[in-house]
């Protein structure tokens, strides 16, 4: 669900290219388990895989220990121990087959869905990415301003004692007087000019009793240096890099007493609003740096109550279904037709044609989508100039819709052709021969025998192709981008699918709104799940009839 939302980087996905997946091998029930022979390759494979598991577990443990995430560590230890137990015991044979698949299912399906669902209840997005503490730090550090008319010092970083551990000090030189002072958290103290050596730029290169650090040594203590402020009367001396210091003042600071940010110059305050995850002033002005909070059902109610969203929703949904059915049905019909033609024993040079027909499938779909977009250009496009037309393809509702489905047809039919060819070859010729013996016309035999048997094999693929096309972000985003848009509504275009429409809503405004996007994608997920569930149920009935 997150891939299409992540935008054009998901372009490499192609309609219906998902592997069909092979059924998991069944445990051999016929053989008693004590008879299972122990082979050397078997043991070697087991050792290798379990060793790998242990290795991965150890590798994953270090960051968990470093981050002190003990529940995560316990979970890791428990699951690793469980895996070892499972594959070292001779019992639980079905589990041996099921566990790897289940683990991958949890990691790549269940977890992302749960994560999306949990994000949908937050305001996670631009301006609300981190914690409140991070926001406070960001507000503080972005409010540090230079004290007007203050001195710009040349700076050297020094320690007393060991460069790696000794207490840090700033050696600052006033460029006008070349007077050197030493500063730490207590304040500035002048140094005797006789004790220090100063380079031409004003930087102190050596000082009695102090270790002047090189950039490398200093950078090893980067955090301490940027955190060190030397208090002065007007503010504090801070480092700007490793060779300059300035007298600056953090104008805004957090006040725990009122749970607010206070501007020391104007006296204005912004109080923390835990519902919105932002510091808000009395007049409603917000500070840009907010934090992530739970907003409950707000994202969901916004989808349902915001007129801009719910207004065009129905129309978009209808077109979305039309697009998915049109793309899937069109490619299936065309692909099957070609497969049938090439399946005929009277056809010559079938291999040549097959290679030719699969070509569109072999080209990267995103490049093809962009090429098609240019071909539909009203003034410079190939299609208009080739056919002598003057159609503003992407400028009118129906031509734009026709154009995107046409592109999908071209991109998608080779896949359907391939799978239909495979399925046709699996249908015994005796069946069709038998119908012709019984006097059926070729059409009757196709209707009564070939098509139903084809559908039994292809229905799951058609359903997955439908689900894919339902959310086919690239097909729209790389061609029309949803155009044409009605003049009075720039947010919802005639070719917009739900996914492109919501992408624009969630990421088009003031930066990314992941929480809102997640809420919408849950709605889309529900729609696709319902459609798929109904279709699968119908397929099963069909299989019962023809199997």
């Amino acid at each position: 669900m997150s891939t299409p939302l992540s935008g054009p980087e998901s372009v490499t996905r192609t309609p219906g290219r998902e592997p069909a997946g092979s059924p998991p091998p069944r445990p051999r029930a016929s053989r008693s388990r004590d008879d299972a022979p122990i082979t050397l390759t078997g043991i070697a494979g087991k050792v290798l895989l379990l060793g790998l598991t242990a290795g991965i577990a150890v590798w994953a443990a270090f960051p968990l220990v470093a981050a002190e995430m003990w529940t995560g560590l316990a979970l890791l230890a428990a699951s690793t121990a469980g895996l070892f137990y499972l594959y070292l015991t001779r019992r639980h044979i079905p589990a041996k087959y099921l566990v790897p698949g289940t683990l991958f299912l949890i990691a790549f399906q269940v977890f992302p869905v749960l994560y999306t669902a949990s994000t949908a209840f937050t305001n996670f997005g631009d301006g609300h990415r981190g914690s409140k503490d991070e926001a406070i730090v960001a507000i503080g550090s972005s409010s540090v301003t230079q004290v007007p008319g203050s001195t710009e010092y040349a700076l050297s970083i020094a320690t007393r004692g060991d460069p790696a551990t000794g207490p840090l000090l700033f050696l600052v030189t006033d460029p006008a007087t070349r007077a050197v002072s030493v500063g730490d958290a207590k304040g500035l103290r002048p140094l005797d000019a006789a004790d220090v050596t100063i380079a031409t730029g004003g930087k102190v290169t050596a000082a009695d009793g102090y270790n002047v650090l090189t950039f490398g040594q200093a950078n090893a203590r980067s955090k301490e240096i940027t955190d060190l402020v030397v208090p002065t009367a007007g503010g504090a001396v801070r480092s700007s890099g490793l060779s300059r210091a300035y007298e600056g003042k953090a104008v805004r600071a957090y006040d725990a007493g009122c749970d607010c940010i206070r501007d020391t110059e104007t006296g204005q305050t912004w109080t923390a609003d835990e519902q919105a995850g932002a510091f808000v002033a009395a007049d409603g002005e917000r500070l840009a740096q907010g934090w992530k909070v739970n907003v409950g059902l707000k994202n969901f109610t916004r989808v349902l109550t915001d007129e801009n969203i719910s207004g065009p929703f129905l129309g978009t949904l209808v077109w979305n279904f039309a697009f998915a059915i049109g793309s899937t049905g069109g490619t299936f019909l065309l692909g099957m037709l070609i497969a049938l033609v090439l399946h005929s024993p009277r056809m010559r040079g079938t291999n040549f044609y097959r290679v030719l027909l699969v070509l569109p499938y072999a080209m990267p779909s995103f490049a093809m989508l962009l090429a098609w977009r240019d071909m539909f250009n009203a003034d410079f496009g190939l299609i208009n100039s080739l056919f002598g037309l003057n159609v503003d393809w992407f400028g009118q509702e129906w031509t734009a819709r026709f154009a995107v489905i046409l592109v999908q047809l071209w991109l998608g039919y080779p896949y359907m052709f391939l799978v239909a060819t495979g399925a046709l070859q699996a249908i015994p010729r005796e069946l069709t021969e038998a119908t012709s013996v019984d006097g059926a016309s070729p059409w009757q035999s196709f209707r009564a025998v070939t098509l139903p048997l084809l559908l039994v094999a292809l229905s799951p693929l058609l359903i997955s192709s439908f689900a894919f096309n339902f959310n086919n972000f690239n097909a729209i985003y790389l061609t029309t981008e949803g155009a044409p848009f009605p003049a009075d509504n720039p947010t919802n275009g005639a070719t917009d699918l739900l996914i492109t429409y919501t992408y624009r809503l969630a990421f088009g405004g003031q930066g990314a709104q992941f929480g809102f996007a997640a809420a919408i994608s849950l709605f889309i997920f529900a729609i696709v799940a319902v459609v798929s569930a109904i279709s699968f149920r119908r397929t099963r009935k069909q299989e019962e009839v023809y199997a």
Binding site: G51, F215, G216, N219, P490
Partner: protein
């Protein structure tokens, strides 16, 4: 039975050995990052910039005994940077456009850069203004760019003074079958706010008013105001149902190529188009984008590329040193210019390359009255609705209702 036990024992031994190996090889890797002598300064830039920054970054590293690594992030640099720095795996320095600043600041991803007064004065004034946000300087600019009018001097020897002059000259060429298009100004199916902006300002429109401190004020939205409707009436008159000068079929993918294949005499584009124009052996000249007769000046957006210090970088002190005290040198600006010819923001560097490249001065002249591209996060809400309104009006829609709706959509998206 015996075989089974032996197998299990062997398994345990080997598995433990394997895990032991895994552990050993991991420990140094985990330790390396924070403890390597002096740390490693990591810089993120796009592909082109990476090549230019690399030698200078390495020189900085050698001079100061630290390791510097420049990593190319070819796609979605801004988003990747924000996400990575939130997770704590981001770089120490990032190179990017100045209109990112608003978003980077609201995500707490960058820190202000404290420049001394003399450092600031070495830069072009507009460039410093561009990287200033809420009164703070957030990046060190190195290049700036703006749109200009590039014309084919064989077809159009004179620089047009007004849009009307341009249209008249273009139509004459079109009637004489020398060109097929009057003007190559990219619009595209969904509009292009950046490229139409000079005409919009000339016709009297504005995006955001400016507050007392000179910053853009998101509360004063100009789209949807009567001035903007008037401006779009003038733009619509040039559109498909009017003069046919502005067309949706001219888009980002074909406007430069139409110009280089001599199908139009005038191109509205930036310094990035010059390389293609030179390659096509077209004799060209660059001038300011003309405004409407009797209207205001046509003001292009001025964009600035800058170096930023990541707020959550692990080597912030070193990053500040690099950005504030090293990228301010003219040598680096000249090298970046050589990698991609955009006018340097450092006055000294611009003077140095001006002599060998007359186009630079012309682009700068064309952008002299330009407006700094707003960096406030609210600007993100402008692009899409504004562009679509533009496309609709050029396609013949009613300017009044179109622009009013666009204004409503935009103000609805601004928090």
């Amino acid at each position: 039975m015996r075989i089974r036990t032996a197998g299990v024992v062997a398994l345990f031994a080997l598995a433990l050995a394997a895990s032991g190996c895994g552990g050993d090889s991991d420990k140094p890797a985990a330790k390396e990052t924070p403890k390597a002598a002096g740390g490693k300064l990591v810089i993120w830039a796009d592909d082109k910039r990476t090549a230019a920054v690399k030698p200078f970054a390495e020189k900085f590293g050698q001079e100061n005994g630290v390791t510097v690594e420049v990593q190319a992030v070819s796609k979605d640099l801004q988003t990747n940077f924000v996400t990575a720095s939130q997770q704590g795996s981001g770089p120490d320095v990032v190179v990017g456009a100045h209109d990112w600043i608003g978003n980077l600041v609201q995500n707490g991803a960058i820190d202000p850069v404290q420049l001394a007064a003399e450092q600031k004065s070495a830069f072009n004034e507009t460039a410093v203004k561009a990287v200033t946000f809420n009164g703070q300087v957030y990046g060190v600019p190195y290049a700036q760019e703006n749109l200009a009018l590039i014309r084919n001097t064989e077809l159009a020897p004179e620089a047009p003074k007004t849009i009307e002059d341009l249209v008249a000259a273009g139509k004459k060429l079109k009637a004489a079958k020398k060109v097929t298009e009057t003007l190559c100004l990219q619009v595209g199916q969904n509009g292009d706010a950046y490229h139409i902006y000079p005409l919009y300002t000339s016709a009297g429109g504005y995006l955001f008013g400016t507050g007392a401190n000179g910053d853009y004020d998101p509360k004063d939205l100009g789209v949807g105001k009567p001035e903007s409707v008037e401006a779009f009436k003038k733009i619509g008159a040039l559109g498909e149902k009017g003069e046919g000068v502005l067309k949706r079929s001219i888009s980002d993918t074909n406007s430069i190529s139409t110009f280089t294949s001599k199908k139009c005499a005038y191109l509205v584009s930036g310094p990035w188009a010059v390389a293609d124009v030179k390659k096509a052996n077209i004799s060209y000249d660059i001038s300011a984008i003309p405004g409407f007769a009797g209207g205001k000046e046509a003001q292009p957006f001025v964009g600035v590329q800058a170096f930023y210090v990541a707020a959550k970088g692990k080597n912030k002190a070193l990053a500040q040193e690099f950005v504030a005290n090293y990228t301010t040198t003219p040598e680096l600006a000249v090298a970046l210019y050589n990698a991609e010819p955009r006018p340097p923001a450092l006055t000294a560097a611009l003077d140095q390359v001006k002599g060998s490249d007359p186009d630079l001065a012309k682009f700068q002249e064309a952008g002299k009255n330009g407006q700094v591209l707003p960096a406030i996060p609210a600007m993100a809400a402008i692009w899409d609705p504004f562009g679509k309104a533009e496309a609709a009006v050029i396609g013949g829609a009613d300017p009044t209702s179109t622009i009013t709706t666009a204004g409503k959509t935009i103000s609805g998206q601004i928090k």
